[in-house]
Amino acid sequence: MKYESQGIAKMYFIAAIGLFVGQILFGVTMGLQYVMGDFLFPEIPFNVARMVHTNLLIVWLLFGFMGSAYYLIPEEAERELFSPILAKVMFWIFLVAGALTILGYLLVPYARLAELTMNDLLPTMGREFLEQPTITKIGIVIVALAFIFNIGMTVLTGRKTVINLVLLTGLVGLAVFFLFSFYNPDNIVLDKYFWWFVVHLWVEGVWELIMASLLAYVLIKVTGVDREVIEKWLYIIIAMALISGLVGTGHHFFWIGTPGYWQWLGSIFSALEPIPFFMMTLFAFNVVNKRRRDHPNKAAVLWALGTAVMAFLGAGVWGFLHTLAPVNFYTHGTQITAAHGHMAFYGAYVMVVLTMISYSMPLMRGQKAANETAQKLEIRSFWTMTLSMVAITLLLTGAGIMQVYLQRYSADPLPFMVVQDELATFYWLREVAGITFLIGLFMYIYSFFVKGKEVEDVE
């Protein structure tokens, strides 16, 4: 660790992993509710478990992105963080606000939470992923502004590398597009149209800039490949991400009452969206192959390669599967969507944060890499979580194909609930995969505490 303030990342990463555990606990709860419909009803109805699961995901990824930025930006900018104290204060504000929000979801009925938080003054609650009370959303904006101010000042008064500028752009974009969450018109078509300006332009837009820059950073560090080469690749990747993803937003505008031309524009541009992910795979494979050093942190190298591959599979391949309008007409809003969503989020964003944590945690603890036993366990946890996610995705894909056949495509379609009963076997097996995923996560956490033979730094 070259700069002391990089160490602030540690608290952010610990919070991130803690919230990740919470996310998965609620995930396996929902998985059980899929097959035992009244499990925990009425104390924790499905929709409450779901909003806790999705909101924890988003918040822990944000903690992960912030921690990653606090770790890499001082090093890239070649100066200490502008205000370490601001970063520490914001950490606690974000954590407490987040915890209170989650407790709000769990302890009071949602309509009551809306009343208590004066939603009527500026109603923004009740939309998917944006369930947070308006006051929480305002809090998120304040935390985001403080964060961007802090790292922005650090970059602007320090060395401006392509990596830290692309990361900064991605993070600013994240903050700017979040503002659309305050726009909640009565017109349902307008509501849906601009909702995607948060969700799509986040995960298929600016978040890809964040992911690509973090991956580039770790790959420079673990392979020693020339920065010029990596930065050129980074520009090409993000160029393709935005060229395909901006108009590619249209693949969400097929069936919501928007003009028919979106079926063409959305299909064509979003069909190109796998390209940046394929390029990331090519890029990661290439720099690892041409590496100039064997970094002792083998786990981090594996996480980096795995991120590129799983993002390509989950976001690229599974996304492509249902992105063309003629296919999407039948698959829209089915388990196919859930299959894609899970692998895409895990591959692209969960894994890139875990890659950063894997790389930086040992350094923040004063070592080049974790000891051999710890790395072996961490690598095993990588495979456990990753293969579990592949299983979840394949099972939900199977469920989705059956759902589409029985409920959408058939000449004699069956009602939703009847079809869900037919899918029970898929859901039970998915739950098993969810449990093994949770086990993998516990293995991952334990790897940070396991003792063993220290690695030597072999150059």
Binding site: Y34, P42, A114, A239, W255, G333, R408, F416
Partner: protein
């Protein structure tokens, strides 16, 4: 990677491409918003429907259901429930009103939201309004949603 394709060129493609397609997205957005009145059923967007949308939101219906295919996949699509229930707001209201507090044993259960008659009427009118949105190819493919 060839030396003829430089980092500078890559950077320019990124800047140029992003700005260009962002402007295209804005242009398409302006055009879409202009065309919406033809399909968005806004002529039926009354105060009561707006109130119904609020009821829909503060009870987090989207947390279990899909609306025009978007939302959660635990419970049925409600964009066409007005049609599916025989074009009856009374049927929609009755379904919501008579959910058992303790749920249905072993089945996916919907909470009892204790809505007032006014709220029930509003959310039913909201769902009728959403059913009237003219979706492309008349999505969903069939009555089951």
């Amino acid at each position: 990677m060839r030396e003829t394709f430089t980092k500078g060129m890559a950077r320019n493609i990124y800047y140029g491409g992003s700005v260009f397609f962002f402007l295209v997205l804005i242009g398409l957005t302006v055009d879409t918003v202009k065309r919406l009145p033809a399909t968005d059923n806004s002529e039926n967007l009354t105060e009561q429907v707006a109130e119904g949308k609020r009821v829909w939101e503060v009870n987090n219906c989207i947390g279990c259901h899909t609306l025009l295919g978007e939302g959660a996949y635990f419970a049925p699509e409600l964009g066409n429930v007005y049609t599916r229930f025989g074009e009856s707001t009374e049927a929609i209201k009755a379904f919501i009103k008579y959910r058992p507090v303790e749920g249905i044993e072993d089945r996916r259960s919907m909470p009892q939201f204790n809505l007032t008659d006014e709220e029930l009427e509003a959310v039913a009118q909201f769902l009728k309004y959403v059913d009237g949105v003219k979706t492309a190819r008349d999505w969903p493919p069939n009555i089951q949603g």
